[in-house]
Symmetry: C2
Subunit: 733 residues, 2 copies
């Protein structure tokens, strides 16, 4: 194992605070339901502890046995004299309530429950699971599982899985699929030099959830990188909060399954329709510094590289290659990944020219064009020279390295080994990451063996090598932006008048009417055009007078009409008393036709706003992640292309700016087809104010500002909807 | 080697027509510049022929040697008695002219020129290359290269590369990177059972190009799949024509590098700006049945699978898995790839229930949930049952197969081998493809070894396994659509009047004016609203009268003003003589301001058309692929999102329909936000007519119909531009 890279600002051995410490690194373990049958977990677990060299106390619990594998058995927990930190419960679901009570009496800190037969099986199982949780909580026992594949902690020689020997190392894994652990372990074994610290299967997450495990791995000095395979979070909000603390110290890699799951819920707003998606999950995880991997075969390469290499300061990559094809492919992948090809300085090129043949290409990709065929060592020299260039953040070697002695001349073997040694020496004194691609990787020549052993990733797949570079670059950017001050949205207290609006709406079991929503927006410093509410046709002309001769928009105000346009409840571009009266009549007729029983509060009158670039800003209370903001371009962009960005609230100004950049069509904000750029600063301020508003009023279930027109200077909100959190859904929602 | 899958409609051993046959499968080879120095190609080539067991005649040519490796050398070509099919020329660039003359005198059919130093080195090299080509043509010698890594034909024991032994098999490769061949050979070696028929490095393609090589591979009975690594085509049009003939018979896999190359040309039209892109290349290759692979690490897996398995009839995939995580990942990747999860019939589920444990999940993904832990053979039974379901086009096995005896009990080894045998037997009598994922793939257990040997692909990467399924499904769809009759755009003869328009424009060194373009469109049955051309303000009112009271659009007509709107040359929504006169004045003023010397022909008057869904239809003469049509949604979709599709002309109705479906925003054509669907049939007819028009008039350099407004019924063309091919570009283009 090479020295792990720590970016920690905290000391590496800071005092642990996670309650899981005593459970995942226990000094004593009871195996309840221990067995002498070698096919049972009650046997293989004891075997794993004994053969693994566990130094703590082992207590097989089984009234019918005296010993297992030479370890004395006890009839029950109460027969154990010393303390018991952890109980591995191998007995069926039906036995758990009593066993957990005994665990409580014994002072057992945590129990791993292997049994299935709970909520995953239906209602009866769900009741049993709730009962198990209740009993565990009453008795002060924390639960891993149930329905878990188990746990190991290789640095404490705790191996409760019946897995073959897995190499100890710096990768900590929490996986909702035991087979996923197996796959990563197989891949690591094939790779040869990467190992694992801890594995936990969270199972049903009845008690302990991903957030708790991540907190533990964040503190665990043996874990250099945390890897989570997640099918579903129990408490996504808590996970984000833990991630916020852990990611500045160590990398967190998450693969979230269900990328193509179809959302099943109906939604009152556009934001609601798109929230809860895989894309939202990815956005909010990344917001908190998590490295989200979207291909399962890149989980281990990325985790390995993040644990072994320093992050790249930025995204400027230099390619050193010994031939054309692969360098071109690498360049394509680098650009596709959003990285850049570094522009090498004149000095660097001159230095390269000094050691390479005349036909070498000195621009990036640097092609040594045969220079290395007789002397591979020149590659190490190139890497050294290039990495000294300030315009380079990471270097990738592409081509045949490791195989020169196979391809050209057996005598090059020693040269290649020397070259590998030079690269390794380079790694010890240089923080710029080096990634090696070799078409001979699977041949496992000794030079590549040495590189791997020293913690330099070697891959046969250019695509995987570039995925690593991207992860290193993303991590570098994340750490860098942490250094600059963050202007966060902050919770402001609300006024009694605004609170009264929400209370009344809740009492009347309705959402805010638009004029109320506009008042709430104003109270948070958001710029909303003046409007008047008109309750009768008689007061129409007088009330409209306040707008002078401006063309007006008229909208129906009714708690029963959520989608005003669909109900024919919006009339545009009205001028003069006659037009207003006609519109009043039409809107009221349409409303009655739409819903004969609709309670029409009147209409809202406001000035028409000039056209601009239309965007949508929404907030939704996501059941997993809590309040989340959505931002996108309006109309077709959100409805057809779903070109939107999500961030959990609280929102920092960095978050808001990054949402603008994330859109595929972000160019539109900069002005296209002869239009001027929009006022991005005003947009960001608006987003921060909306975030603050959402934080200030827990009664808000959803906010939908759709559309907001953006101008060269400022913005106008064309429609504002605030959905109020209500005990039971009303009939029309 | 397993039996290759042939979808050929031609007999497998149809007579070959490619001139390359005698060159790539030669009966006699001269090595010019043969050498006794083991580091020289002139030595290793002879070594490769001798040790490879080449049965033809070998003639080392070197006046200073009597023999090489026991093969008698000759002083010059003329000293050889028998015929010489192929000359491998190992001497430097400067010697070539004379050598090629000698080759011609000797009747050598083809020469492989290894030397570099031609167009890739600059102007002098370019002249030498032209000279070499001229001499070769004069002397009737075809050239492979120059600047090539060489060639092998393992079924004829011709190995002119100094490569280690590569396994013979069904993959034929043409690669502009020798290292790419090396990488694929390494990967195949690691994989163990896939082999190669022929490799050619086309080098500079001075004479023989990709199209010629593909034609040869298409005919070669030893080649089951053709793989091309392409940096650039010499004659893309010819390649497409060959692909059209080959792909119905055997799969063609192309990796095209330069995916992120930035287009460097300026363009007169939107179509011109987007043509020539990587995306265009991919579209036109796919149009011709080519499997385009976009990740370099999927080239071999995809080529292997296409050569070993039958294509999938459609895209409905069934997953058989032994656990949750990987099955979920596979399902995600399958849906992302545009494939579908097959819906299993009631019968299938009942049959599965009969052999699986009660906790098994019988919906797709089928999760055997532990049934296979003690009896892996149940997996083969599941595959058998599922593949009999008519709703299933392909099956993927996901999980631990091959490793049960490692994970659970060594005694399962024989069961696993039996299971593999059952799967292999299944493959021999079932045309539905089976792909196997195993987390134990890299452990190479004997059961997986058997599967690979029998031609069932086994992969540790779920992503690669799904890439294979996608390629098999795409190929199946391609072959299927070939069966239905294709309504192709057909070349119609042009009328003398229309030809006169083009002639005049060419004589005047200008593009067509809009009214001329509209006439050309009309002559091809395209629906264009009536327009009048007005040459003086005096005739304005009278000429406008023909439109009755309709609101009109007025556009400037000038050969010097290409972008009419930018020049203030378009006025909309004009009613009545006063408005027309004012517009006339303004347009003429603007035109003068835009270009004081602009030759203004007058204005065009046409009725305003009602708004619709705006699309762009363009045609460009691509320098590589010839006439290519572009289709996309208008405005921001084409300019910002570049959401467009390309097809080479001639265009079939299938091509046109597939362009509609390909757009990310294709949903808009079906009607969104309350709008009706557009008249897709009219759109497709329009596209076919435009394609015919482009074919009918070789004088057309570009067509840009932008925008075309689509309606529930029919369409309207708002602006039409036809750029005429001219000897030299005019100043304003």
């Amino acid at each position: 194992m090479s020295t792990p890279v720590r970016t920690a600002t905290l000391p590496a051995h800071a005092p642990t605070t996670s309650f899981l410490h005593d459970i995942i690194a226990p000094d004593s373990i009871a195996v309840i339901g221990a067995s002498s049958d070698p096919t049972k977990r009650g046997y293989t677990a004891v075997l794993g502890l004994v053969t693994g060299g566990y130094q703590g106390d082992i207590y097989p619990v089984n009234p019918r046995l005296t010993e297992i594998l030479g370890v004395p058995a006890v009839a029950s927990l109460s027969d154990i004299e010393g303390p018991v930190d952890l109980a591995l419960i191998c007995t069926p679901a039906s036995t758990l309530v009593n066993i957990l009570k005994e665990c409580g009496q014994k002072g057992v800190k945590g129990a791993i429950i292997l049994a299935a037969g709970f909520r995953e099986t239906g209602e009866q199982g769900e009741r049993l699971e709730a009962e198990v949780l209740r009993v565990a909580q009453e008795n002060g026992v924390r639960i891993i599982g149930p329905n878990t594949s188990g746990m190991f902690n290789l640095h404490k020689n705790v191996n409760l899985l019946s897995l073959e020997a897995v190499r100890p190392g710096g990768i900590g894994i929490v996986s909702q699929s035991g087979n996923m652990l197996l796959a990563l372990a197989m891949e690591a074994e094939h790779n040869g030099f990467i190992g694992f610290s801890t594995y936990v299967g969270p199972g049903n997450q009845t008690d302990v959830g991903f957030n708790d495990y991540l907190e533990y791995l964040g503190e665990d000095p043996n874990t250099d990188v945390a890897v989570l395979y997640v099918e579903g979070f129990r408490d996504g909000r808590a996970l984000l909060e833990v991630a916020r603390k852990v990611t500045p110290k160590k990398p967190v890699v998450i693969y979230k399954s269900g990328a193509t799951e179809v959302g099943k819920k109906s939604a009152a707003s556009h934001t609601g329709a798109l929230a809860g998606s895989y894309e939202m999950t990815v956005d909010v995880l990344r917001q908190h510094g998590v490295t989200v991997v979207s291909q399962s075969d890149q989980i281990l390469p990325v985790a390995e590289a993040l644990s072994l290499l320093y992050p790249a300061k930025s995204k400027r990559i230099a390619i050193v290659a010994d031939g054309g094809g692969q360098a071109t492919i690498a360049a394509d992948r680098i650009v596709e990944a959003g990285l850049e090809l570094a522009e090498l300085s004149e000095t660097t090129r001159e230095r390269l020219a000094g050691i390479l043949l005349p036909q070498a290409s000195l621009a990036n990709p640097v092609d040594v064009a045969g220079t290395s065929d007789t002397n591979p060592e020149v590659l190490a020299q190139c890497i050294e020279i290039i990495s000294q260039d300030k315009a380079v953040d990471a270097v990738i070697l592409i081509g045949m390295f490791g195989g020169y002695h196979i391809r050209f001349d057996q005598s090059l073997l020693s040269n290649e080994i020397r070259t590998a040694a030079a690269m390794i020496e380079f790694k010890t004194r240089n923080q710029k990451p080096l990634v090696v691609h070799s078409i001979y990787a699977e041949r496992r020549p000794s030079s590549l063996h040495l590189l791997r052993k020293a913690g330099i990733p070697v891959h046969a797949s250019i695509e995987n090598a570039v995925a690593i570079l991207r992860a290193l670059s993303d991590r570098g950017s994340f750490l860098k932006q942490l250094e600059s001050p963050h202007e966060n949205s902050t919770v402001e207290s609300s006024s009694p008048a605004i609170e009264a609006l929400f209370n009344q709406a809740q009492q009347e079991n309705r959402d805010l009417l638009e004029f109320e929503a506009r008042d709430v927006l104003r109270s948070h410093g958001i710029n909303v055009a003046k409007e008047v509410v008109v309750r009768s046709v008689e007061e129409l002309e007088e009330k409209a007078a306040v707008f002078g001769g401006q063309p007006l928009v008229m909208k129906v105000m009714s708690k029963d009409i959520l989608h005003k346009s669909d109900a024919g409840g919006v009339k545009l571009n009205l001028r003069g008393p006659e037009a207003l009266k006609a519109a009043w009549q039409e809107i009221n007729d349409n409303a009655r036709q739409y819903d004969a029983n609709a309670d029409v509060h009147g209409v809202l009158l406001a000035p028409m706003v000039k056209p601009g670039v239309e965007v949508i800003i929404g907030v939704v209370q996501d059941p997993v992640f809590g309040p989340v903001m959505m931002f996108g371009l309006g109309g077709i962009f959100v409805e057809v292309l779903q070109d939107v960005a999500f961030r959990a609230i609280p929102l920092s100004s960095h978050d808001a700016w990054s949402m603008l950049d994330q859109l595929n069509a972000s160019q539109i904000l900069d002005g296209v087809r002869g239009q001027a750029a929009v006022d991005k600063q005003a947009l960001v301020d608006l987003m921060l104010n909306v975030a603050t508003m959402a934080e200030s009023h827990p009664q808000i279930a959803e906010i939908d500002l759709n559309p907001v027109a953006l101008y060269e200077d400022g913005y106008a909100i064309l429609d504002a909807r605030i959905i109020v959190d209500r005990p039971a859904p009303s009939a029309d929602s």
